[in-house]
Symmetry: C2
Amino acid sequence: MKKIAIAIHGGAGTILKQDLTPELEAAYLSGLQKALDNGYKKLSGGLTAIDAVLQAVIDLEDNILFNAGKGSVFTKTGKHEMDASIMDGKTLEAGAVAGINSIKNPVQLALDVMKHTEHVMLSGQGALDFAATKNYALQPDKYFYAEQRYKQWQLVQDTDTVALDHNIQVKDKKFGTVGAVAVDSDGNIAAATSTGGMTNKQFGRIGDSPIIGSGTYANNNTCAISCTGHGELFIRAVTAYDVSCLMEYKGLSLQEAMHIVVHEKLVRIGGEGGMIGVDNNGNTALLFNSEGMYRGVRNSEGMNEVKIYK
Amino acid sequence: MKKIAIAIHGGAGTILKQDLTPELEAAYLSGLQKALDNGYKKLSGGLTAIDAVLQAVIDLEDNILFNAGKGSVFTKTGKHEMDASIMDGKTLEAGAVAGINSIKNPVQLALDVMKHTEHVMLSGQGALDFAATKNYALQPDKYFYAEQRYKQWQLVQDTDTVALDHNIQVKDKKFGTVGAVAVDSDGNIAAATSTGGMTNKQFGRIGDSPIIGSGTYANNNTCAISCTGHGELFIRAVTAYDVSCLMEYKGLSLQEAMHIVVHEKLVRIGGEGGMIGVDNNGNTALLFNSEGMYRGVRNSEGMNEVKIYK
């Protein structure tokens, strides 16, 4: 059996130890460990990389601490608009949803777009119409409500401020996104990403999370990548696919390619954030150019850790 | 002054001479020539590549023959949903709109997203709310009405058929998209793409046209690309940025890189369609793996032609 591995993230940004209470820090670490373990169990049980990234992202979406699914931030009008995507490195099939509400697990809907339509990306009410054909239950707004998010929104709702942060009381930027990448025992890889977007966002803004090539990419020949960061800059840099191209066309390793993209190319354009990656040999990398990134990694060679700070 | 050049497309697919009347063929060629000339005039007048691609795409959007702006195809519910994007190779700034209606020139709105917001991509009603802040007039549905599109839709509206075609009475596939790429006298390059999507489309489907990296990409160091084809496969292949990476990381020429993507990589995954490209030396290429592509190219060395078939 080949080496199996999973890596996850729960967002990057200005995450400083002095800004988190011990209780909150423990809750973040516990949430990450649970998602990591539940994803890993799929792999160790012989299931696919797609199964593993789906499970880990669902766990993070269901955790109110992370800005995806339950606990998503508020838009300008007090709503929740979520984006998600998933890609299978074996088949290069992909699915994505953008600007949706009322769906408990956007990443599951993205997978159903991939599996049950001839499309890659569905948006808005149309995506919900598709969800209805698959008998998705719609959650009331209160399901997504998190007191901390509501307070964040209250601070800025009457302004034109759009907060990239998922935790505004911390002074600087945080990018609220969750994601997972995995390699299974057949050497197939996959990636998935999900987000509630930006606090106080308006105008139906779509960031990099649902964009194949920018927020998410997977190809068995190179890597599976899930990003978190200042979405607009990640789109302009086509960040996830750039790692793949550096591996395919320049022969770089996963770590080398991710280093160039995260610490050189993104830094040059002011693109704060990070990404997680895996290749089909079971190598993993978790890189960020911000102060911190909620993250975790586990593999069949005994690695098993969750971290927040540098 | 450096060599200036512009290339345009009006969609690709199964476009066969025997399927077009001489009158319709002449109308297509005339529409292409007008857009090409109006875009070229911007360049020869000393304006930027962005000005040129904007003008050419506006001309194609305003022409009822092409599936973008006026003349956009009908969705499942008899509406028009349009997507567009634009990217500046000098600054790597980009703007895009997805799933919008009632806007005469979606490419202009994409440019305003780029210039006047901190975002890259706006969608649906939110994008229209942004347009309202810029005093865009909303067009009634009848502005977009084209009898030929209505007939196409009538043929399939009661079925689950989604037509990639923009001219269904022709037997096989056509991909209704318009686009332009240009290099100006300062050696700056730009790309823009606009589409009315797929006849009878539903579920808020978004194709490659508004996706930076897939349908549109521009970078002065490599190339500006606008694609037309089976959007889902172009998204999965991250088509436009792939050309850029082949140039940047493998040192290929524009023509070589486009050849690999259009005639090898896309063909392998069944991705029918084509693309136009330009580099900062004024080289242009117009490649497609389908039967035809509405296209044109003009430069300051005397090249000036519009074509439809192989």
